[in-house]
């Protein structure tokens, strides 16, 4: 396979990515590669080095290197079965890798659980969004993180904070008191994203955010992701298998094929056509 060749040029190309706050020197994709390390906008939020994972005889991930900076949107693309969900589950602390290192905010960590990863600022919005239809928007927003005074819920405070937090990410919901079931798919996704972001998240993983969504609603989500990028303090990993929908919002794309990252390049230097060609080449070889 020619993964190594495809990978290396990507790493060497000087950075001309669209995001203005991305002032790193280059994309280090190999083990031990030096990230820009510093603080402030553009600081490296997450680095994964040499991660491998086997399930019995099946190698799910092989020597994965991946990194993402604050204020950057990384597209993690790949077909079904390429290992995307395994990689997400390792980053979110659900699985433990067989080997490799995970560095969050410059510190190497050994993730013990999803709660542990969350406490370190890694938040995930899963495809099912983890919303409860029967509850109003603001209670979903604070689900299992309710504000209380003694044993009692602070409904008013939660309503106000939910309104503020949704406004901050530019989402307009007619009433935070409305049940979630009354909302559209795009609004639901936006609430789930806003909820994840509201918790001092440093790294936000979005699992197929556009799945089962119409073009107009998908556009709204992409604009929301763009606004979050412009805050500059959040690193976003966007997982998708439909490249054409998401590639525009990404600063950089990684292509995951058969458990290996075969492609790492700023979005400005690639195209959907090139990505599709890579995937088709893989099928021809198979």
């Amino acid at each position: 396979m020619s993964e190594e060749e495809t990978n290396t040029p990507g790493a060497d190309v000087p950075h001309q990515a669209a995001a203005p706050d991305e002032n790193g020197t280059g994309i280090a994709s190999g083990p031990g590669g030096s990230g820009p390390g510093g603080s402030g906008p553009g600081a490296e939020a997450l680095r994964v080095e040499g991660i491998s994972k086997r399930f019995g005889p099946v190698t799910a991930l092989r020597d994965i290197n991946l990194h993402v900076r604050a204020g950057e949107v990384l597209g993690l693309l790949g077909d079904n079965g390429a290992g995307k969900s395994t990689l997400i589950k390792i980053i979110t602390g659900f699985h433990r890798p067989d080997s490799g290192r995970i560095v969050i905010g410059g510190e190497e960590v050994s993730l013990r659980s999803v709660a542990h990863a969350r406490s370190l600022g890694v938040e995930t919005v899963y495809q099912d969004l983890a919303l409860v239809d029967e509850l109003p928007v603001y209670l979903n927003f604070f689900l299992n993180k309710e504000l209380t005074a003694g044993p009692f819920l602070r409904h008013g405070a939660m309503r106000r904070q939910a309104v503020d937090a949704l406004a901050e990410v530019g989402i307009s919901i007619p009433s935070v008191g409305a049940e979630v079931r009354a909302l559209s798919g795009g609004q639901r996704q936006a609430i789930a994203v806003a909820r994840a972001v509201n918790t001092a998240a440093k790294v936000l993983l979005l699992d197929e955010p556009l799945a089962a969504m119409g073009a107009r609603e998908g556009g709204q989500i992409l604009r929301l992701i763009d606004r979050l990028r412009q805050r500059g303090d959040l690193a976003i990993i966007l997982i998708a298998h439909n490249y054409s929908q998401v590639i525009d919002v990404c600063d950089r794309v990684n292509l995951l094929q058969h458990g290996e990252i075969t492609f790492d390049r700023p979005t400005a230097e690639t195209s959907v056509a090139e990505l599709l060609e890579l995937v088709h080449a893989e099928y021809r070889m198979a």
Binding site: A19, D128, L143, P151, H155, A178, S184, D251
Partner: protein, 338 residues
Amino acid sequence: MAQQTPQLTRSAPPAPAARTGFGKGLLRRRELSIVLVAIAAFAYFSLGSYGSAFNTTNNYHIIMQYFAPWAIIAAGESMLLICGEIDLSAGFTFSFIPFVFMSFYNQGLDVPLSLVLAVLVAMGIGLVNGVIRTVFNLASFITTLGMGFFLEGMTYIQSGAEPAQPPITGTLGDLLGDWRWSELGWALIIVAVMQAALSYTKYGVYAQAAGGNPLSAAESGIKVNRVKVATFTLTSLFAGLAGLVDQVRVGSFDPTSGGSDMMFMSVAAAVIGGTALLGGSGTVIGALFGAILLAIIKEGFTLSGVSAYAFDVVIGIAVVAAMLLNVYISSLRGRYLR
């Protein structure tokens, strides 16, 4: 995308508002409609040709005797329904717990201690229901059906199929049903506490989440099983309490009291009061008004000389109509309350 300047776009066009504040309130507070129906039923019998017999303190007391035990059990049953579960054994817990009390008392323990132990046994029944439901993942319908038969048999074994004279007297007796309106007090306090728990505590949110979307609840870190077990335990506690208070009031522990009738009436009260059988939504106060409505109809029929069989016909229609109304109102809410 990075090149396009994003505009702050509204996520949705403004939804049509409900036409009137009252109509909106009706949609939002589902139990309000049952309050109105209860008031209408009351007005019908109160102003009708049997009004002079209906509007007496004694008659109000009879109505209270009907709905108080239903409402006490429904306070737990509606929380269970909100969690997406049901307890078919509650009516048999109602029958069984007085005889549990008697067996402790007959072994020489004093009344207060026997009461405490009986109440603990009631909670133990709910705990077993909940553990079998959650740990072994057996549907609550089956779990509590089995528990219901088991308790019915145990009630007859414990009682020897004979009624017993409650030995609870004095202030404790007054508190537990001897005083004329004490059962009403129990019903109102338990309903108020459970409604407050549903509306104003984390437990209420977790119960709705557990019933509405267990997967989402679990992903958010809510301990769904713990919430369900706690609710099973509360339901059995209330059923046991209702059994003690109701039968102290009557002055006889009767092994044939309660049973499936008591259970079905409390479930019917919860459903008529606007609680969804599939979980996720409902109120405790609605169940209270559902119980009051059923009691008013039952007593009104008795006074009007309508056959007791007709009462069951009406309940059957009322349950189905309430469910249909629930579904219809839900779709209206979806349309108007965005």
